[in-house]
């Protein structure tokens, strides 16, 4: 009798998830495979279309660039935060958390102010005489990239600080005492120990960028569609539910592949570490 209790407690959540997540998903995706006969035709014709394929490639390209840029900007910053006193660390973590908890519409809107024709960046560049007419920065792939870096950098920093805090500072001191320069000690000692954090953070940034809707919608414009905005357009504006469902599954599968891929890299690095030791 009492052994059944945990399952009874879990039942309401499971039922809701099955009815309102699993079944809706299957009911949307199943027709893309089955139309009288079982086939992959919807997917083949989707990828054969150069416009669709271009959007897929853009989404992947933007996600890669954003992830790499977040790592470049985030790793040293996280290292800096992890090395400060507990009091400072708390404050800096709160400062990093604040943009993360701020609505993504606001964070994208901030870049409309900065990158627009009469925006802050163009005014600044014009006033110091670098440009004579305003640059087209907004509604480009560039603005999606910068908006996404802005969106996801905090989450990478926060993930990394958690890992870097646990690295014993004495290891770094030992490396320096033994003659390594500070940068070399950082690259040879801190960076390898931070790899697990970098992997977890990269998964969050990559899949986040891959599926973000607000930023490409507000900063990309109609000519720079990403999979998420393309899905919305197909479903709600064009009424093309077949393509919308195809995009939905492509997004899910790509997310899963990216997660598996990063975890595979993480495992391989772990194994190499064991062999070294």
């Amino acid at each position: 009798m009492s052994k059944k209790i945990p399952y009874l407690i879990l039942a309401p959540g499971l039922i809701l998830l099955v009815f309102f997540l699993l079944i809706p998903l299957v009911s949307v995706i199943w027709p893309t495979f089955y139309n009288g006969t079982l086939s992959f035709d919807s997917y083949i014709s989707f990828f054969k279309d150069t416009y669709n394929f271009g959007i897929f490639i853009r989404t992947i390209r933007v996600s890669i660039i954003v992830t790499v840029m977040c790592i470049i900007l985030g790793v040293p910053t996280a290292y800096f935060i992890a090395g400060t006193s507990a009091k400072w660390r708390g404050l800096l973590m709160a400062l990093t958390l604040f943009p993360m908890l701020t609505n993504s519409v606001i964070r994208s809107f901030a870049w409309i102010n900065l990158l627009g024709q009469n925006g802050v960046v163009n005014k600044l560049l014009a006033s110091i005489g670098i440009i004579s007419k305003p640059l087209t920065l907004l509604y480009t792939e560039f603005s999606i990239i910068i908006g996404s870096i802005y969106l996801f950098l905090p989450i990478l920093i926060i993930t990394l600080v958690g890992v870097m805090e646990n690295i014993n500072p004495e290891i770094m001191e030992a490396a320096e005492t033994l003659g390594a320069s500070r940068i070399k000690a950082f690259i040879k000692v801190v960076l390898p120990l931070s790899i697990p954090g970098i992997i977890v953070g990269s998964i969050l940034v990559f899949t986040g960028t891959l599926t973000a809707y607000t930023t490409p919608q507000l900063l990309g414009g109609n000519r720079n569609m990403m999979l998420s905005t393309f899905l919305y357009q197909n479903a709600m504006t064009l009424g093309n539910w077949e393509d919308a469902s195809v995009i939905a599954l492509i997004m899910i599968v790509t997310t899963l592949i990216v997660m598996k891929g990063f975890n595979l890299i993480a495992n391989r690095i772990d194994k190499r570490g064991e062999q070294d030791a």
């Binding site: 209790i5 945990p6 399952y7 407690i9 309401p12 959540g13 499971l14 809701l16 998830l17 309102f20 997540l21 809706p24 009911s27 949307v28 900007l73 985030g74 910053t77 290292y79 800096f80 090395g83 708390g90 800096l92 973590m93 709160a94 400062l95 958390l97 604040f98 943009p99 908890l101 701020t102 609505n103 993504s104 519409v105 809107f109 409309i112 102010n113 900065l114 009469n118 802050v120 005014k123 802005y150 950098l153 905090p154 500070r182 891959l210 599926t211 809707y213 607000t214 919608q217 507000l218 998420s228 919305y232 709600m236 919308a244 469902s245 939905a248 899910i252 997310t255 899963l256 997660m259």
Partner: protein, 259 residues
């Protein structure tokens, strides 16, 4: 540790990158010019007044509050007992069930929104509001399972066993022994789930219609056609809200424990 000037400058630049855009929004909320201008001319509070006079902002703010509160409460009612069951011994397929509970974080938000819209609203003809509520419940549940679950894992269950031995029923022991011990993590998970639900766009965007539009959706549609300091003023108000909620989390569980 010795002073690391290069590193400090780099980190300083990154924080400038994170905050200058938000500071510029804040400044533009006070300019007198009817389109956004930076630097601003003059100084006024009229755009803040305009936010409160805008009926669609106020309506969608109330709708957002209602949806996020109901959805996170539902997620708490279903999620806390589930998280508790998942930390008990002898539950078969525990890790599988836990991943299933956390799966709404893996499925892209636009896909959750789209499939709910198609299945619930179009096929089953369930009212839009119910669909919106269910969508927000789905995205809130993982926060409860994760935050409450990790605090339950650290709880010493022998205190609960003592209560059973002393004659308390399992239900009573759960209410009077377990719940008070995890109350701060319940509060923190509620806050996190609430903020996330309140800020959500992709799910809300699909599940909106006449009279049903959350504040971020309304704001987003507004931005597509308007470029004026009212947006800045509303942004400032929302950022103030975020600061207050962060302060509350810090005072209860501590921000460091929830991230």
């Amino acid at each position: 540790m010795r002073k690391q000037r290069g590193l400090s400058i780099f980190a300083g630049a990154v924080f400038a990158f994170l905050f200058i855009p938000l500071i510029i929004i804040t400044i533009t909320a006070f300019g007198e010019n009817p389109t956004i201008q930076f630097p601003i001319t003059g100084f006024t509070f009229q755009w803040f007044t305009a936010v409160f006079e805008n009926q669609s902002f106020m309506d969608s703010f109330l709708l957002s509050l209602e949806v996020s509160l109901l959805a996170t409460l539902l997620a708490l009612i279903i999620g806390i007992p589930a998280a508790y069951a998942l930390t008990r011994q002898g539950v078969k397929g525990k890790s599988w069930i836990k991943s299933f509970f956390l799966s709404p974080t893996i499925i892209p938000g636009v896909v959750v929104g789209y499939s709910l819209f198609q299945f619930i609203v179009i096929r089953l003809q369930i009212p839009l509001f119910t669909g919106l509520l269910l969508g927000h419940f789905l995205i809130s549940l993982p926060y409860i399972i994760r935050v409450v679950g990790s605090s339950l894992e650290q709880l010493d269950f022998s205190i609960e066993e003592v209560a059973w031995t002393l004659g308390s029923t399992k239900f009573k022991a759960f209410i009077s022994i377990v719940l008070p011990n995890i109350s701060s993590s319940i509060f923190a998970s509620f806050m996190l789930a609430f903020i996330n639900s309140f800020n959500n766009i992709p799910v809300s965007q699909f599940l909106s219609g006449p009279g049903i539009s959350t504040l971020p959706t309304t704001l987003m549609n507004y931005i597509e056609y308007n470029y004026n300091p009212v947006v800045s003023a509303l942004s400032v108000l929302l950022m103030l809200g975020t600061i207050i909620l962060m302060f509350l989390i810090e005072k209860t569980l501590g921000l460091a424990k929830v991230v």
